[in-house]
Amino acid sequence: MTTTLDPAPARDGLSLVFAALADPTRRAMLTRLRRGPATVGELGAPFAMTGPAVSKHLRVLERAGLVTRGRVAQARPASLSAEPMKQVAEWAAQFREFWDQRYDRLDDYLRTMPDEPEDHS
């Protein structure tokens, strides 16, 4: 099997996603949005958070591309957007697979690699 590493997503974009995911409240909001779009009020309810506090978190998630906001009336329900997460996932999964395969190659190589006295010291 062949592993290729695609050109990296823009570093700034990934950094925004990482920063957005680093906060437990924002991760909980993403979990909630998994069930479907939600308004600011619905997102803030489990945390007893004010509207402005929820909106602040939503702006961080929006900037990272993890959430989109609807244009429906005043509510502007937020929805989960999977693409940035997929980019992060692909990056990490490729990297992990790359090393898993390379360590298999190292195992194979160690079997043919000549011994030296110092190896046993």
Partner: protein, 161 residues
């Protein structure tokens, strides 16, 4: 697959690091040479699909390294470089690691222990500058969930807490 493939393990013992474990079927001295000498590293780190086209290594405290992988049929070249900060042959090596186009850098501590006669347990601790960067890595499980109809998202999110 090799007899030791199943020992590959990735874990997150604290907020900013990722620990990679793997065992190899040779003594630590030999594994050390395979990891630190360019003529050996080239033999396994690169392959036909992803050859290691640059392999410069000055393995001593303060020395630098640079590896570049170039895909023959693709546009992609991926470089990684850094410094050797601690070198204690054949047990422990501390490096910085920066991929050209990826978030970083990280400080990587690689320790080789003799797990049994002729068997080495490698522990590689990759420490990022902050939690956000590390969590980007962890988010892989989370994003897998998104890619597969979200079924694993909850578990992944729990793991992030």
């Amino acid at each position: 697959m090799t007899p030791w493939s199943g020992t590959f393990d990735v874990s997150t013992p604290d907020d900013t690091s990722i620990v990679v474990r793997r065992q190899f079927g040779a003594e630590p001295g030999k594994v050390w040479r395979a990891l630190t000498e360019p003529e050996h590293l080239r033999r396994w780190l690169g392959d036909a699909d992803f050859p290691l086209t640059t392999c410069e290594m000055d393995v001593r405290v303060g020395g630098r390294y640079r590896w570049v992988f170039t895909q023959p049929d693709g546009p992609g070249a991926m470089g990684v470089s850094g410094t050797y900060d601690e070198v204690e042959r054949p047990r422990r090596i501390v490096t910085t690691e920066q991929f050209d186009d990826y978030p970083g850098p990280s400080v990587n501590t690689l320790v080789l222990d003799e797990a049994a006669a002729g068997r080495t347990a490698m522990t590689l601790t990759v420490r990022y500058v902050d939690r956000a960067m590390r969590d980007g890595w962890l988010a892989s499980g989370m994003a897998d969930g998104l890619g597969r109809g979200y079924e694993r998202l909850d578990d992944a999110l729990d793991d992030l807490h």
